[in-house]
């Protein structure tokens, strides 16, 4: 299929923002706060950060919130009334400024939430999100999207992918989905036809560092390998890697009671935590950190490809940037590829 390519002038981007606002769209975009760039609701175009390689947190919070209400309950004279989250209350959101690695992560999260049982809470949120991807013109030493099936100008997961044509340049807009087309139709004057623009030379150069299929194959035979101990010696089990990851979907379910009423919430969790798999009896199938680190890598590079036909890593590099003990997933993956098993 030919991708609908358009040109959006630099100045038109702000007009697009305003038109979306006039159409009552909620816009989430990167903003700089305390030196960190994170997604938050954007009130003005000028508040949107542009000079960032990667946001500190991924954008997954929008379709899979960190803490999300599942139901409310109230005890009353007749017993109990319980009301589930009203899916119609989920807002329409434009997610602006998503890096291609985060956009790709949406497909991986969707695979988890839709194999077998379909998670309609997740699906409803996602169906109301329009993703504005922004290609990467810069990368850093933590980036490795090209090793896991992505690239700095990858269109997967975006509804429209914007690529800035040089510093201070205009934008190539690749309109990829019906949701993307719907945006174009709201502001068609801003999207000029531009079929002959090639974005390649404007993209960051991210070298390929490993072969994920080869790693997956290695992992099939590596469950008992000593490399898990070597790699995880530094791991504090803090879970930071999972909280910044665009594809980590593990969650907990907890109740929050306030007197006679309360709610049940689903909240992010991490396989790195020692309590994650602890049985009430005291038995823990993943007793030590090396087993938990193994689970993290195995899940992303062996179990997910095997069961869901997707990998659980988009090469965003956030886990390495966030790790307080300076564990670098790229180094670890390369060492798995090089390991003799």
């Amino acid at each position: 299929m030919n991708i609908d390519k358009r040109l959006v002038s630099k100045d038109s981007l702000e007009k697009l923002f305003d038109i979306l606002k006039q159409n009552s769209k909620t816009i989430y975009a990167p903003a700089t706060k305390n030196g960190k760039v994170s997604f938050s609701e954007a009130d003005s175009f000028s508040g949107i950060a542009t000079d960032y390689i990667q946001t500190t947190q991924s954008s997954k919070d929008v379709d899979f919130p960190r803490t999300e209400k599942i139901l409310d309950y109230t005890r009353n004279e007749n017993g109990m009334s319980v009301k589930g989250i009203d899916l119609n209350d989920i807002p329409e959101i434009v997610l602006w400024g998503v890096r291609p690695c985060d956009a790709m992560g949406i497909g991986e999260l969707s695979a988890i939430f839709n194999w077998d049982y379909k998670d309609e809470i997740y699906n409803n949120r996602l169906s109301r999100v329009t993703v504005f991807g922004f290609s990467c013109s810069k990368s850093d030493e933590y980036c490795f999207c090209t090793s896991v099936g992505g690239n700095p100008g990858n269109t997967t997961g975006s509804d429209i992918l914007f690529t800035q044509l040089g510093e201070d340049g205009d934008y190539l807009a690749e309109v990829l989905t019906d949701k993307g087309s719907a945006v174009v139709s709201l502001a068609s004057g801003l999207f000029e036809a531009a079929t002959d623009i090639e974005k390649g030379k404007y993209l960051a150069d991210v070298p390929v560092r490993f072969n994920r299929e080869e790693i997956s194959k290695k992992l099939e035979k590596s469950f008992e390998s000593g490399l898990w101990i070597d790699q995880s010696l530094r791991c504090l089990g803090c879970g930071a890697c999972a909280y910044v990851c665009p594809t980590c979907a593990c969650f907990d379910i907890q109740d929050e009671a306030h007197g006679k009423s309360g709610s049940r919430v689903r909240c992010w969790d991490s396989c790195g935590f020692s309590l994650f798999t602890l049985h009430t009896s005291g038995h823990n199938p993943r007793e030590v950190q090396s087993q938990r680190w193994r689970q993290r890598i195995m899940h992303k590079f062996s179990y997910m490809p095997d069961r869901l036909s997707v990998y659980g890593c988009t090469g965003c590099g956030r886990c390495s940037r966030a790790c307080p003990a300076d564990m670098n997933i790229l180094e670890h993956l390369i060492s798995i590829q090089e390991a003799v098993v």
Binding site: L71, Y73, D255, D269, F276, H279, T280, Y303
Partner: protein, 278 residues
């Protein structure tokens, strides 16, 4: 209901039975008749039971699918949720989501002998299958139940043990750990694997279903092996910590196998393919 996988059915505790110290059985009825009419399950499946304001806890359905109109669960008061659950009374309302997981292939066992081996609080997951089989008794040949607990008072379903003892079509052997016997104890004394070895049930045309604490299971499998049981004919049900029950929350997997989706029922042959992560 379908839109929100996490919405439990509202259940009323119809009857409370004290089974053993800290162990109770709740008979649960659906508050909403439509839920009741729509609900079906098979032996071996589990659910998430919740006390609103405290949380959810995972146990199997302990009653047989042949008994309609209610479900039962048996649990030991151990953690936060089971403590709160234990504080509930007849008439209290709790939540239940399920059924989840795979099932014991009872249909495939037609014409076979059934050998049930259980230890302690692991009789409840098996009770579902036992009653399921006994309610369809003509489908099976000999039914043998070997059940052990730490002490006489720890044996659960004491009334049902009496029933099974009286039945001519069931061979029941109960045992308690050495030192756990009472002065009037008439059953066996010894650990479950030892008693299985002593009884030496025939493996011919026999399906063995084994549930118990890990240490009991560990020592029972070799005994069954020496009695000639094939790994394909030995079934057990695994437990791992769960939150969702349907393959999303990410914690019950053993290697690439999800206990909540691919299990909880496994044959010994399947278990031997799994890494040591349960």
């Amino acid at each position: 209901m379908m839109d929100n996988l996490y919405m439990p059915y509202l259940m009323k505790i119809e009857k409370v039975t004290f089974e053993a110290p800290g162990v109770k059985t709740y008979m649960l009825k659906f508050i909403n008749e439509e839920d009741q009419n729509r609900f079906t399950f098979k032996a071996g499946q589990f659910g998430e039971y919740s006390v609103y304001g405290v949380g959810e806890s995972t146990f199997c359905i302990a009653s047989s699918p042949t008994r309609k109109g209610y479900i039962e669960c048996t649990f030991r008061q151990t953690g936060k949720v089971t403590n709160a659950l234990s504080g509930c009374e007849e008439g209290s309302i709790i939540g239940f989501r399920g059924p989840y997981g795979n099932t014991f292939p009872i249909e495939e066992w037609k014409g076979k002998n059934l050998l049930f081996i259980a230890g302690g609080i692991a009789l409840p997951p098996m009770r579902c299958v036992i009653w399921n089989a006994l309610d369809l008794r003509e489908n099976f040949k000999d039914v043998t139940i070997i059940y052990g607990a730490r002490s006489v008072k720890d044996l659960v379903y004491k009334h049902e043990l009496e029933d099974w003892k009286r039945r001519k079509d069931v061979k029941l052997i109960t045992t308690v750990d050495p030192g756990g016997e009472s002065p009037d104890w008439k059953g066996e004394i010894g650990f479950v694997p030892t008693i299985v070895e002593k009884i030496a049930p025939s493996s011919k045309d026999t399906i063995a279903i084994v549930c118990g604490p890990p240490v009991m299971i560990k020592y029972t499998f070799p005994v069954l092996d020496s009695l000639g049981f094939q790994d394909e004919n030995i079934y057990t049900t695994l437990e791992n910590r769960m939150k969702c029950g349907f393959g999303k929350c990410g914690r019950c997997n053993v290697g690439k196998v999800y206990v909540c989706k691919d299990g909880p029922v496994f044959t010994l042959a399947q278990l031997k393919e799994l890494p040591d992560e349960y």
